[in-house]
């Protein structure tokens, strides 16, 4: 599983990253969380509202800071 967080480094992006890591830990999934901060790359995913969560190159959420519970549901 490949997980990416899209966001230009605003406070919300950091919260989403922390929540994602927490969700992965609780599900015992070992994978890297890659941060994409380059605006060109973010836009190529079609995302305009950051932060966004990308799982296996698919945008699963954007413009929202998901809680770790919500992320767990998405990852199952």
């Amino acid at each position: 599983m490949k997980i990416k967080i899209l966001g230009s480094g605003c406070p919300n992006c950091k919260v989403l990253e922390a929540n994602t890591k927490k969700a992965l830990e609780e599900l015992r999934i070992k994978t890297n969380v890659e941060k994409v901060t380059d605006i060109t790359k973010i836009m190529e995913y079609g995302v305009m509202s950051t932060p966004a969560l990308v799982v296996d190159e698919k945008v699963v959420s954007y413009g929202r800071v998901l809680t770790s519970e919500e992320i767990k549901k998405l990852l199952k």
């Binding site: 966001g7 230009s8 605003c10 919300n12 605006i39 060109t40 973010i42 836009m43 190529e44 995913y45 079609g46 995302v47 305009m48 509202s49 950051t50 945008v59 959420s61 954007y62 413009g63 929202r64």
Partner: protein
């Protein structure tokens, strides 16, 4: 009838009867401070909540969709209207700019949005309402809207496309992402959260501003500023705009101070121009926009907006 009249009665009782400060300059200033602080906090909470709620319907994806089929002028008007409800925020400004350019929205229409978003600021509108009444608040929103429509339209006619950073045109977005659906409950809790966070952010500046305003109200002689910055002085408006540019983070604190200065003879048009410069033109904003605009375009953009604000200042000094 003034809905804040009961509040005034309460504050009068508190300061004049309970603290027994009637007739003293200090009592005057204290009354002014307590009354204004409570009234403005109430207005801020209500207005920010309403604007934030409307904003939950205006996610960037939605804005893009609303503007992508518009042409000039009608598009400028739609873009400026959307800009009233959306803030200029570092998280969304650049992606939105690129998204609009990429989907073929005319540059002038994009500019109308970029001007209106920071120029018409809900915190400023709430403060103007609290300190000057709803007419002045409406005047502020309406003139901000007209500046955005006209300035965006003019910028569109100047054919500035070549001054947008080149990489912006190379981005190809994956299509198909729509604004995420939200439940009514989510919208309300989002708006409430936004209201709390904005009030927490401006609270201290606001109280300091009101305290300085109350001091000026009580201690500075009337008409002090009439001779220095009255309507007779033509340089007052541009100078007010220049002073306003670096004061961005303190917009909430500046407005109460300015409101007391009006009592001391500062003309309203000059004051309005100053407050618009505080909210619309700022260094952090320039740094964000520099990512997508070449320096020349950034300078043209700032100049056109500044000219619009100065013009508004003169206009109000002349008609009021």
């Amino acid at each position: 009838m003034d809905i804040f009249y009961p509040l005034q009665i309460f504050v009068n009782w508190l300061v004049y009867t309970l603290f027994n400060l009637k007739g003293s300059v200090f009592g005057e200033a204290l009354n002014f401070f307590i009354y204004d602080s409570i009234k403005i906090l109430i207005l801020l909470a209500v207005i920010i909540f309403v604007v934030s709620y409307i904003r939950t319907y205006l996610a960037p994806e939605k804005v893009k969709k609303l503007l992508s089929r518009r042409f000039e002028f009608l598009g400028n008007m739609t873009a400026s209207t959307i800009g009233i409800f959306t803030p200029f925020c570092s998280c969304s400004a650049v992606p939105l700019f690129i998204g609009l350019v990429e989907s073929g929205v005319p540059l002038g229409v994009t500019f109308s949005y970029l001007i209106a978003a920071p120029l018409i600021n809900e915190v400023a509108a709430a403060l103007l309402w609290g300190l000057f009444g709803w007419k002045i608040a409406l005047l502020y929103v309406a003139s901000g809207w007209i500046i955005s429509v006209v300035a965006g339209y003019i910028l569109g006619k100047m054919h500035l496309e070549k001054y947008v950073e080149d990489y912006v045109y190379k981005i190809k977005m994956k299509q198909g992402l729509k604004a995420q659906k939200k439940l009514q409950k989510e919208r309300i809790s989002e708006a409430a959260g936004e209201t709390k966070s904005i009030i927490r952010k401006v609270f201290l500046y606001l109280l300091i501003g009101i305290a300085i305003g109350a001091f000026i109200h009580g201690f500075v002689p009337e008409n002090l500023l009439t001779s220095i910055a009255g309507t007779g002085n033509w340089f007052a408006v541009p100078i007010a705009v220049l002073i306003g540019v670096p004061l961005y983070s303190n917009a909430a604190g500046m407005i109460p101070i300015v409101s007391s200065l009006i009592e001391k003879g500062l003309p309203l048009g000059t004051a309005l121009a100053f407050m618009m410069a505080v909210t619309a033109l700022s260094l952090p904003e320039a740094i964000i926009l520099r990512k997508v605009m070449k320096l020349k375009l950034l300078i043209i953009y700032f100049s056109v907006v500044a000219a619009g604000i100065i013009f508004t200042g003169y206009l109000f000094n002349w008609i009021l």
